[in-house]
């Protein structure tokens, strides 16, 4: 008989992917030994809920995704605050920072991604300059802006937008420093980005576009002094750096798994080493529109992949590639949703619709009959239908496509066969 330790399903990471994998394993296999290791101390929490804690929408206890009793009740061993530092694929062992070595039968790598930190900030270890990535970051930001203050957010991607929005909703002055000529340029076109920038400015966010940071220093009293190209200067209490992320695979550098862009997986989320799976921000999964292997860095993708990997670790054959891009940009009821690839330019037909008041906007992008991307701005009740449609289920007929184009503001009737 094999030693029991070899049957252990070991999950590295207690984020979206890791926890859904544990749920999935338990749903089919109530007794197998499951261990979850988290690099962070304390209970697992939802990274994407951090901005809402900062804005005051939910209390800090609202961000936690698992309680100790949830783990013990389901016979899951939870080891927090002890990150993996090495992997021995021959002996099937993971080494933790404390020196603990855990043997595994099946291993899931779900350690997510880590934010980029520019070289310019190296050596400038000043309080109040941080990412918005961990609970520690969020607690620091919240403490520093408790009694007012100005904040600069460096970056204009999704996390930067969430940070700016959260702080503006909290009533603080925010500068968004954007290198490009529009915010959220990977998911929104110019029309939609313009509407979002306008909505942000109404909340008190100043979008500084086509702008780069030239120098950052710390003034007497602790304020951060930011010199922008063009000579403009800002003095802020907090600087949030949100310049993108990279896969968190540092501890795999001595294994054949490590890649610069992430971990390659097959359609069952297995890596090239049998018994080792990957899911979440670091997994290179096939995109459902382009077929390209890419790490989507989305909560929705992480949950889906975590579940698929968990089922496969438990012995199922659950095909789980074909990931879908979807971003929700909400500003207190007014916002945009971007699904699929609305900015793809080859062999596409692009249809744009705007209402008279200039508040609602839709961009629908087709490749032949198939909808491959959509941007939806303004209040709507039909967004839920877009993901399935872009995945290609149900397949659109020419008649339904025409109907969607005739009534673009609510696609539900066309899909329900009305």
């Amino acid at each position: 008989m094999r030693p029991e330790k070899k049957e252990r399903m070991l999950i590295l990471g207690a984020g979206a992917a890791g926890l859904s994998a544990a749920d999935a394993i338990r749903s089919v296999n109530p007794d197998s030994p499951v261990t979850i290791v988290s690099g962070e101390k304390g209970l697992p929490y939802a990274r994407m809920a951090l901005p809402y804690y900062i804005s005051g929408k939910i209390p800090v206890k609202g961000i936690f995704t698992g309680m100790r009793r949830d783990f013990s009740g389901r016979k899951i061993e939870y080891i927090p605050g002890d990150p993996a530092v090495g992997l021995d694929t021959h002996r099937q062992k993971v080494l933790l920072r404390s020196g603990l070595a855990l043997e595994y039968g099946k291993l899931l790598v779900a350690t997510g991604s880590v934010p980029e930190y520019p070289d310019m900030l190296a050596g400038l270890d000043a309080p109040g300059i941080c990412n918005l990535w961990t609970l520690k970051d969020a607690l620091q930001i919240k403490r520093r802006i408790e009694h007012g203050g100005a904040i600069a957010v460096w970056g204009a991607g999704f996390v930067a937008f969430m940070a700016a929005k959260a702080l503006a909703m909290h009533g603080r002055k925010v500068y968004l420093i954007c290198r490009a000529n529009r915010i959220l340029r990977r998911v929104l076109d110019e029309g939609a980005a313009g509407l979002m920038e306008h909505a942000l400015s109404e909340k008190g966010v100043v979008c500084l576009k086509d702008t780069n940071v030239e120098h950052i220093g710390v003034l007497k009293g602790g304020k951060k002094h930011i010199v922008l190209d063009g000579g403009r200067e800002l003095a802020v209490d907090v600087l949030i750096v949100a310049l993108g992320t990279r896969p968190n695979t540092g501890f795999l550098h001595e294994t054949p798994l490590a890649g610069k862009k992430g971990l390659e997986v097959d359609e069952y989320l297995g890596t090239r080493i049998p018994g080792i799976y990957a899911a979440g921000d670091l997994a290179l999964v096939r995109d459902c529109v382009t077929g390209e292997r890419i790490a989507h860095a989305l909560w929705s993708a992480a949950v889906r992949e975590g579940r698929g990997a968990g089922l496969n670790m438990a012995g199922d054959r659950h095909q789980c590639d074909l990931s879908l891009l979807m971003n929700v940009i909400d500003l207190g009821g007014y916002g945009a949703v971007s699904v699929g690839h609305p900015l793809l330019a080859n062999n596409t037909e692009v249809y744009q619709f705007a209402d008279k008041a200039g508040k609602a906007y839709r961009r629908l992008v087709f490749q032949d009959r198939r909808l491959i991307g959509a941007i939806i701005v303004g209040r709507c009740t039909d967004t839920g239908f877009f993901p399935a449609l872009i995945r290609g289920v149900p397949e659109l007929t020419q008649a339904r496509k025409q109907k969607i184009l005739r009534f673009p503001w609510n696609i539900a009737p066309a899909l329900l066969g009305l």
Binding site: Y52, T65, V328, G333, G384, L416, G417, L418
Partner: protein, 160 residues
């Protein structure tokens, strides 16, 4: 769960009104949505068709799985409901729901059909079912319907 009979519906929207009044929902948010569409039949007569968007209280509900703050839960009877005060308003549930059911209140927190559990516990029918003047809506307890029968029912009478 609630089953909709399109042949009975007359498109009066009393169910939507009843739901909004019962749950105190603002404009744009409702636990049930009736859609209508006109067509011409073979003899050139105008016909109106109705469909209802209703929560299916799915057996393996995507909205429960995706919610990052675990605000959406399933109870022992299989009813899927949301604790709105926990919701951050990320809208992932509405993007993951195959029927686009979750809607949002003024605080941008999710609300959805909870089958009027308090009414059921008091021996009443859900507000939409009670409010429908032509009995186009019926309530069936999810635990009493086997999965297969449920699918059969859905195909016969429901929206998708």
């Amino acid at each position: 769960m609630i089953v909709f009979n399109p042949d009975r519906c007359v498109g009066c929207y009393a169910c939507q009104v009843a739901c909004k009044v019962e749950r105190g929902l603002p404009a744009g948010a409702c636990g049930i949505t009736v859609l209508s569409y006109e067509s011409l039949d073979g003899g050139g007569e105008r016909r109106v068709h109705y469909r209802a968007l209703l929560c299916h209280h799915c057996a393996d509900a995507p909205c429960v799985r995706i919610c990052p703050v675990r605000a959406v839960t399933r109870d022992k009877n299989g009813i899927i409901s949301v604790a709105s005060e926990k919701c951050i308003g990320c809208r992932l549930c509405s993007l993951s729901c195959p029927h686009s059911i979750p809607s949002f209140n003024d605080r941008q927190q999710m609300t959805k059909c909870n089958l009027c559990i308090e009414r059921i516990e008091a021996g009443l029918k859900p507000a939409c079912v009670a409010g429908c003047p032509v009995a186009a809506l019926e309530i069936e307890a999810p635990r009493e319907i086997s999965v297969r029968k449920r699918r059969g029912l859905l195909r016969k009478r429901c929206c998708l």
